[in-house]
């Protein structure tokens, strides 16, 4: 029965729902109608967005609001859950618990508040992050001197120990290698340097290194000068100039060739071969045959123009000259002898590679063989002979060029006599000598001046060195420069017997000459001439020179009589009192006689009025000479100094005493020692010229705090310096990255 009833009730409900639906349909229609009516009006009403919901009771106009005020309870929802069998007991239990617990979830905070909280947290976080900079900033503020860039590494090479610490042999291969090393004369004890290293250090002293450096510097300078000059000359567009030069070169070459035939027949032969080659080429080519375009045009002109004819003839002459066979004057026997004597031909040692084998003009090494001094003299003779001005000029050029070239060649030390190791000294001497000659030249160019500067420096260093060596008596060891291990091996055996007393001797003499003080005329002090003795000798000059003041009343009275007219003391007192009076402030009298009372002749303003209207100002501070009766001290302020004085207390100081004490020590060199002055006036910031000052990176200062762990860690530990380097690298990379990003943007 109960089930039936239930069924009934359900049916009823369904019916009512259907009825409801019908009703709601009506409602909707009604609403639409209403809307249609309203829309028909002149004004178009804005359509209200209304939520419509199906419910039993619906108001006339819009959705019933019943139940909106009530909250949806969990129990309302749970009813269905209880019934559903699918849900697990556990969830049901939880839900039940929830239901029983009366706590409700709080509303989420509104946007402003959440943002505020988030801001606060973010602030704290960033503050913590930024605060790690505070110490370093404070430290930098406190620092007396800052040197930028901050991470400056000490220059120079580092030992392995500095770079790698805590490294040990592990693999069997390494062990094997080190065992071998151990056996082969490697140090067992632990000096910093191995004997080989030490030896190499000894081999090249600082002075030597300096000399070597200067040498190289000079060579480079010379080279650059020469290059610059060559470039300049190359740029000259004047055909005449080049022609003249070419001619001069040709002449020069011939001359040299002649000489070479005498001195170096082997080289001459080579040259000859080259010339032969060029002759062949000339013969093969159509050059200078007057068959070119230019020649044809000239041929047309030749009828009328003398110069054109001349030019053509010249061309032909040139062709003739070039194709002429060269006769060798030297005899073959001599040559063969020479060959027999000299096992190695000279040109083997030529440093300069022949650039153009065909063109003999390009070969600079011809001058190399000659001694430089003689070269100069011959050139001088030659120039004297030249009548053409241009050629003279060119000759001058040439000479200088040769000199410089010779210098360069000298500086690249390749001397045939010395095997394996070079003697720097002699080269140097030669160079300096030659340069001295150069200096004597009348027309010095700027470049040469520079060169001479180099030379003076060079000579100076050299002379120092020689002097030192003289003192030490270690003549030979200083000269030998060892460059590599092979040389080192030679070092032990090599004993150079050459003393260098010769160059050092005149120098020392010169030094003596300079150190000798110039002769100075000294006057003999003749006492008899100057002094004339007095005949009368003062025995006891004055016995009672000093007598007490009080005892001599008589004298005082006499003096008083003497100066009775001018009473000095009273004058002075008057003076002083006058000044004191002037210093006292005056009383301002503002009384107006007759104002508010009777006035007239013989009537004084009343006492009350005088009291009321006489204004007294405060007395000035006591005078400095208040307690000194016989002294007047001026009270005027020295305004002239005031303009130079500090008038406002500078920042950190709170009173004048602090400030004055802080500047009480003068900083000038008049009052202090040199070191103190330097210390006191050192700049607050030092920057390295040309170095980029990067902004500080965190790694720079954080690395100082983290100490290197002792036992644990990677097998190869990098030293501090290396790490610092890495840090900088990283930072620089970072910056670069940033920059590139910016650029991309």
């Amino acid at each position: 029965m109960a089930a039936d009833e239930e069924e009934l009730s359900i049916n009823e409900q369904a019916i009512s729902a259907s009825e409801d639906e019908e009703g709601s349909d009506d409602e909707r229609k009604h609403k639409k109608l209403l809307e249609a009516i309203s829309s028909m009006g002149s004004r178009k009403r804005k359509k209200q967005n209304e939520r419509s919901e199906a419910s039993v009771q619906v108001s006339e106009f819009f959705v019933n609001a019943e139940g909106t005020g009530e909250k949806v309870n969990l129990s309302d929802l749970l009813g269905t859950v209880e019934k559903t069998s699918g849900a697990s007991n556990k969830t049901k239990k939880q839900l039940r618990n929830l239901q029983s617990s009366k706590e409700t979830l709080e509303l989420p905070l509104n946007k402003q508040q959440t943002e505020k909280i988030q801001r606060g947290i973010a602030y704290e976080k960033t503050a913590a992050e930024v605060s790690c900079w505070r110490n370093i900033i404070l430290q930098n503020q406190k620092a007396e001197q800052m040197v930028f860039p901050l991470n400056q590494e000490s220059p120079g090479p580092k030992r392995v120990e500095q770079v790698v610490a805590g490294w040990k042999v592990q693999t069997p291969l390494e062990q094997e290698i080190f065992r071998l090393l151990h056996i082969n004369s490697q140090p067992v004890d632990d000096p910093v340097l191995t004997p080989v290293e030490e030896q190499s250090l000894k081999a090249m002293s600082l002075e030597e290194a300096k000399i070597r450096r200067a040498e190289l510097q000079k060579a480079r300078a010379l080279q650059s000068y020469y290059e610059a000059k060559a470039k300049r000359e190359k740029k000259i567009k004047s055909k005449k100039y080049h022609k003249v030069q070419r001619k001069a070169k040709c002449k020069d070459f011939l001359k040299q060739f002649d000489e070479m035939v005498k001195t170096n027949p082997e080289g001459a032969l080579e040259e000859l071969k080259k010339m032969e080659l060029s002759r062949m080429e000339e013969r093969m080519s159509l050059k200078h045959q007057n068959s070119g375009k230019w020649a044809k045009s000239k041929a047309i002109m030749a009828k009328y123009d003398d110069s054109a004819r001349k030019a053509m003839q010249e061309q032909l002459q040139m062709n003739k000259d070039l194709t002429q066979k060269i006769v060798v004057p030297s005899d073959d026997e001599h040559e063969s002898n020479e060959e027999g004597l000299e096992t190695i031909p000279d040109f083997v040692n030529d440093s300069e590679p022949v650039i153009d084998s065909v063109n003999p003009w390009m070969r600079g090494q011809l001058t190399h063989e000659e001694p430089e001094v003689s070269c100069v003299t011959t050139e001088d003779v030659q120039t004297a002979e030249e009548e053409n001005e241009e050629e003279e000029l060119v000759g001058e050029f040439e000479r200088k060029r040769k000199l410089r070239q010779a210098d360069e060649e000298d500086l690249i030390p390749t001397e045939e006599e010395q095997p394996a190791s070079e003697v720097v000294e002699e080269d140097v001497v030669e160079v300096s000598d030659k340069e001295e000659e150069d200096d004597d030249d009348d027309d010095e160019e700027e470049e040469e001046e520079d060169v001479s500067e180099f030379n003076t420096l060079f000579r100076l260093m050299r002379s120092e060195k020689t002097l030192e060596e003289d003192e030490e008596g270690l003549l030979n060891e200083g000269q030998i420069r060892v460059r590599n291990i092979e040389d080192l091996e030679v070092l032990g055996e090599f004993v150079d017997p050459q003393p260098i007393a010769e160059p050092s001797l005149p120098r020392t003499a010169a030094v003596e000459a300079t150190s000798e003080p110039p002769y100075k005329k000294k006057r003999e002090i003749d006492l008899k001439e100057v002094l004339t003795k007095e005949a009368k000798a003062v025995k006891v000059p004055f016995l009672p020179t000093v007598v007490d003041e009080e005892e001599r009343d008589e004298q005082i009275s006499i003096i008083k009589e003497a100066f009775a007219g001018d009473d000095v003391i009273s004058d002075f007192i008057k003076d002083k009192s006058k000044l004191e009076a002037a210093g006292r402030p005056e009383v301002v009298d503002l009384t107006l006689p007759g104002w508010g009372e009777w006035g007239g002749v013989g009537l004084k303003p009343s006492r009350w009025k005088r009291k009321r209207f006489r204004i007294k100002t405060a007395p000035p501070p006591p005078r400095q000479d208040q307690k000194l009766p016989d002294v007047i001290i001026s009270e005027n302020r020295n305004a002239s100094v005031a303009s130079h004085q500090v008038s406002q207390l500078p920042f950190p100081f709170q009173n004048t005493a602090q400030f004055e004490s802080s500047i009480r020590t003068p900083i000038g060199p008049t009052w202090n020692t040199q070191s103190v002055v330097k210390n006191m006036t050192k700049p607050k910031v030092i920057t390295k010229m040309g170095a980029i000052i990067e902004p500080m990176v965190k790694e720079d200062f954080i690395k100082n705090k983290t100490t290197t762990p002792g036992g644990k860690g990677p097998a190869i530990m990098l030293g501090e310096n290396k790490r610092a380097k890495e840090g900088t690298k990283r930072s620089s990379e970072k910056h670069r990255g940033r920059r590139s990003q910016k650029r991309r943007k």
Binding site: E144, D190, A537, V538, V546, S634, A639, H644, T665
Partner: protein, 591 residues
Amino acid sequence: MDSLICYLPKKVNIYEFDWLFLTQPPKRYWEETENTDQRRPEEEQGTAVQNQNKSTVKERSLKRKNGENLEKKDPFPGEAPIPHKQLQKFQRGEKYKVPAGARRRLKEAIISSEAMSELAQKQAARYDLLLPEDAGFLEGDEDEDTNTISQDDIADAVDITSGSKYFNLHLSQFGPYRLDYGRTGRHLLVGGKKGHVACIDWQSKDLMCEMNVMETVNDVKWLHTEAMFAVAQKRWLYIYDSKGLELHCVKKFNDVLRMQFLPYHFLLATASATGFLQYLDVSVGKEIAAVCTKMGRLDVMSQNPHNAVIHLGHPNGTVSLWSPNQKEPLVKMLCHRGAVRSLTVDKTGTYMVTSGLDRKLKVYDIRAFKPLHSCFLPAGASCLSLSQGGLLSAATGDIVQVYQNVLGSSPVSKPYMAHRLRGQIWGLAYCPFEDVLGIGHGEGFTSMIVPGAGEPNFDALDTNPFRSSKQRQEWEVKALLEKVQPELIGLDPGQLSKVDQASFEQRHKEQVEALGFDPLAKDKFKPKTKKKGRSSAGAIEKRKRKVAHEDQRDEIRQTVQERTERDKEQKEKSNEKKKLGNKSTLDRFRK
């Protein structure tokens, strides 16, 4: 570990710096692996303690002690101590302690400045070692007065170079002579009353120049170098070079009687017969100041080397102190009852010695302007001079007396030395850095040996008696660069390092005085001219009245407001009083 210990002392010298960072010693490949294995546990033990650098250093030092090759211990570790006396000699002012509640920046500033001044003081004290010379004095036998020892005896006794410093120049023709030594003490300038002027390198007796100016010569003075000197002649002041060539005739300076040269200011101060004190800047050739002293003829003059203040002695017994910055004397003190005959100031600027017509010799402390002691000379002193060593020479008639310990508190009883000359003494000057007193008198010039007179140590950068001409030129340039401006002359030479505590009003007043107008003053209101009859006199007046007393208006308004408020308060008070007065005890029960 042993190998490590051997390793340390060798390396420390070379790579000291790097070692500070390396907590672990570097290991070489030839060191066997077993050794390292052994070391490991030790290290691990150590790491717990070793984290701090200090502890490791301690350990090392301990190990070094135990090790085989001990380093020799320095018996005198640290810097050499400086004697307290020397330190005190170079102390400048009091050390300032950091106040209790000082802020960080203040603390840092004070600490750093104190450290710096301490360093300067210490270094200076250390370098004091380089002043080894000491002054000596003449000592007589028992019951022998040193003043009885004649110059001849001294000259005979001392070495030949010193002996040659006693000499006479017989110049009886143009006498009496004034004289001046150059600052280095090598050059002597003498000027006879009757026009004879000569400068001599007195040590080599080398006559630099000699001439007769054919006029009365009142005074002669070297300028900053021995290349120039000033001669006060009958009318004008002349400047000659060392060859005797007349460089300038300064006609602004007339009737000069006495001159003083202030070397650090490059000022030549002259006192004239007309009562004018004038300053000539010799570096620019300009007159810096001319002060009318209104004290009559000025023939007694001296300078205070400490603060470059000029002391003038007057016939009315007063001594006045002058600077070029003030038109009135800085100080005027009454020293003698008669006229002041001569005065001199010692090099520290502490003492002044005066002598007057009342035949008294007085020693003053011119820091406090108080007389220390006075003594009576029967003949009176016409010339006074103080040496660098503190010896006082006084010319009494034809006798020169030298007194020792004059500047102390006790009065002197007898002279240290005495020397009789032929004529009246006219000039008296000690030679700097030499034990020599130059005396100019009627019969010429006498150089007298006074042991202990000169300062034994000279500052070669300031006044070098042995300087070459090149050095002199360099010094001249430097001295010109470091020239002290005349504005800084005052009683207190340290005035510049003090804060000017004058009020704004005072400074403003001074500024107005110096400029001649008020830079802060507003310019007067000037009404615009308007057209259409609006610029009539009445309209302008009206407009003027609108802005009249604008500066005072605020003040007046404020005072009025205050007054009204005060009145109000008083009224209220009186009302309350009245009420209280009317109330009876029973009023409290009233509702």
